[in-house]
């Protein structure tokens, strides 16, 4: 169920250049079920900025009613968020949307998790869940450069982890697809989150595989009421079918929607 709560910051730190890890505590956490869901944050009590900001849930700490997000402080809203301190409250609406499906009876099977930039965070909770189901996980993570890279160590503790960076300062030089094309992993299911060009590249390669992609879109309400975040359904002859990224997604089976 979707709840709105003023949650308390228990930890906020810069873990890479302009990348912050933020932990919030509150009862809303009890509602969080799926990896890949997101929250919609109001970072100011006033009108500056006006709209909420969608941020993925990166790790759920059910035991202590807390969750962690990882975000890049870029525009006005995320900048303001990054200035908040331990003990401050943040107005959270969530959990929202449908996350990555964890299929049953996948014990021993192999999952490939591909993340790019600020698409990496939701994969972290996902990876934990898959491990709980005794799956094998491999992570391929892409970043701009070393200074903006994060969580490579954390992912390494969960499974094989490969990194790529545009300038080669960390991992392979290039994109995640360079790694994928080189190492040609074998996998039973693919999960990915990242910039649209990355998702398109994955779709080209793996459209016939079992795979799930998490999308981004500019949002208004975040709950399915305003039709801001709509994407078209593939292979729809009438061109009228649609999905809402906020409430039907953000995760869709590969090939379901037009990227």
């Amino acid at each position: 169920m979707i709840k709105q709560e003023k949650m308390t910051i228990t930890c906020q730190r810069e873990i890479a250049a302009s990348i912050y890890e933020l932990t919030l505590e509150g009862q809303l956490v009890d509602q969080m079920v799926e990896p890949g869901q997101f929250v919609h944050l109001r970072v100011s009590e006033g009108i500056d900025p006006l709209l909420r900001r969608p941020i993925s849930i990166s790790k759920i700490h059910s035991d202590r009613q807390a969750f962690t997000m990882i975000y890049r402080a870029e525009g006005k809203g995320t900048q303001l968020l990054s200035e908040k301190q331990i003990g401050d409250k943040v107005d959270v609406l969530g959990p929202l949307g449908h996350g990555f499906p964890i299929e049953k009876n996948m014990k021993g099977k192999k999952a490939l998790l591909v993340g790019g930039g600020i698409g990496v965070p939701p994969l972290y909770e996902l990876s934990h869940r898959l491990l709980e189901g005794d799956m094998d996980v491999v992570h391929v993570l892409g970043f701009q450069n070393e200074s903006s890279a994060f969580y490579i160590d954390q992912f390494s503790q969960l499974g094989d982890t490969y990194a790529a960076s545009v300038d080669g300062t960390v991992g392979t030089k290039g994109f995640v697809t360079n790694i994928l094309d080189q190492l040609k992993f074998d996998f039973d299911v693919l999960y990915a989150c990242g910039p649209t060009p990355m998702l398109k590249a994955l779709e080209e390669r793996f459209r016939d595989k079992r795979a799930y992609l998490s999308l981004e879109q500019r949002m208004g309400c975040g709950i399915g009421a305003c039709f801001a975040c709509v994407c078209a359904v593939k292979d729809d002859p009438e061109q009228s079918a649609y999905r809402k990224v906020c409430s039907d997604g953000p995760v869709f089976p590969i090939g379901e929607v037009v990227l």
Binding site: M1, I2, Q4, R42, I47, D48, P49, L50, L51, R52, L93, Q217, R218, M219, G220, C221, G222, I223, G224, A225, C226, F227, A228, C229, V230, C231, A232, Q239, S240, Y242, S247
Partner: protein
């Protein structure tokens, strides 16, 4: 006595607060958050004759104190709204105001004729900000004669009272209001969004795929208040006010200006519980101001003290 109850053509409202069209879908999403029967009414998303996919994304952009949208009237079309959305809404004790849109007069007429027969549709809201394909895309709402004609054509076929939603993108809003009143409008809703645009600092291009969009939110409230202040003194039909309402205080300001009820749009995105919160806060605000009934406040900004005494009696 209910201090917030309001009667308007076709509408018996428990309270004067309703979500604005396009900001609340058909109510399904918000019904998971609170009981829709708490609302005074619901203005549902614009309905067109056939389904519309709407504009490409991005469809929204934030601005200082406001937002731009170019949804493009996405909706499932008249039939689905009548067959699925409206019947679903019947489970709530709340009157529906159906927002009607189209590309030519005939579209409006057909949608109005049919949708006004739905048992829970107590009034129509004509969205005349749409571009008129027959006049080269000039909005119905910027030419008084066209708006009047459209209103009277819709009035002929509608089984429910007709409110016309005025566009603020005009030089003379009173002229528009009077034209649709002459056309037979039972009420006005105002205002729709101001036309605006935002450019991406990196690419230089418009952020919205549709380039321009409608500006809503607190930024536009002064424009709306001014227009309602002007219009309410010059027409004899009631006005449902909207534009940037975020608090119960804003609602009071709209009543002062001349509104008889108030719709909340963009603020639903900022705080999804905003409508019930405002409804809960209004009575104590009336106490502070020292009036018994909220309708005593309508037009206080321009009524002389004599007139106020008269209306209260």
């Amino acid at each position: 006595m209910n201090r917030l109850g309001i009667e308007l053509p076709g509408l018996k409202l428990k309270n004067p607060i309703m979500p604005a069209s396009g900001c609340f879908g058909f109510g399904r999403e918000f019904s998971q958050l609170y009981d829709l029967s708490k609302l005074g009414a619901i203005m549902i998303k614009a309905t067109t004759l056939t389904s519309r996919f709407g504009n490409p994304t991005p469809r929204v952009a934030e601005t200082s104190g406001g937002m731009l949208n170019a949804i493009g009237l996405q909706n499932p079309g008249l039939k689905k709204v009548m067959d699925e959305e409206l019947p679903w809404l019947e489970q709530y004790d709340v009157p529906i105001i159906a927002n009607v849109a189209g590309s030519m007069t005939e579209d409006y007429v057909e949608v109005a004729k049919q949708i006004s027969t739905a048992p829970n549709v107590h009034a129509l809201e004509l969205n005349i900000s749409c571009p008129n394909v027959k006049t080269g895309g000039i909005a119905f709402g910027t030419a008084p004669e066209i708006a009047k004609e459209l209103t009277s054509r819709v009035k002929e076929v509608s089984s429910a009272p007709v409110y016309v939603k005025l566009s603020p993108n005009v030089a003379n809003i009173v002229e528009m209001a009077q034209a649709v009143e002459e056309g037979g409008a039972d009420g006005l809703t105002m205002i729709n969004t101001l036309l605006g645009m935002r450019l991406d600092l990196k690419t230089g291009r418009p952020i919205l795929a549709n380039k321009s969009g409608g500006l809503s939110g607190p930024a536009i409230k002064p424009v709306s208040i001014r227009m309602i202040y002007e219009v309410s003194q010059k027409v004899g039909i009631p006005i449902i006010g909207m534009g940037g309402v975020q608090t119960a205080q804003d609602v009071i300001e709209y009543f002062y200006a001349g509104a008889s009820a108030v719709a909340v749009g963009t603020a639903n995105f900022v705080d999804p519980f905003i409508c019930p919160s405002i409804i809960d806060e209004l009575p104590s605000l009336l106490d502070e101001i020292g009036v018994n009934h909220i309708s005593d406040l309508t037009g206080r900004s321009w009524k002389t003290d004599d007139q106020k005494a008269y209306h209260r009696a």
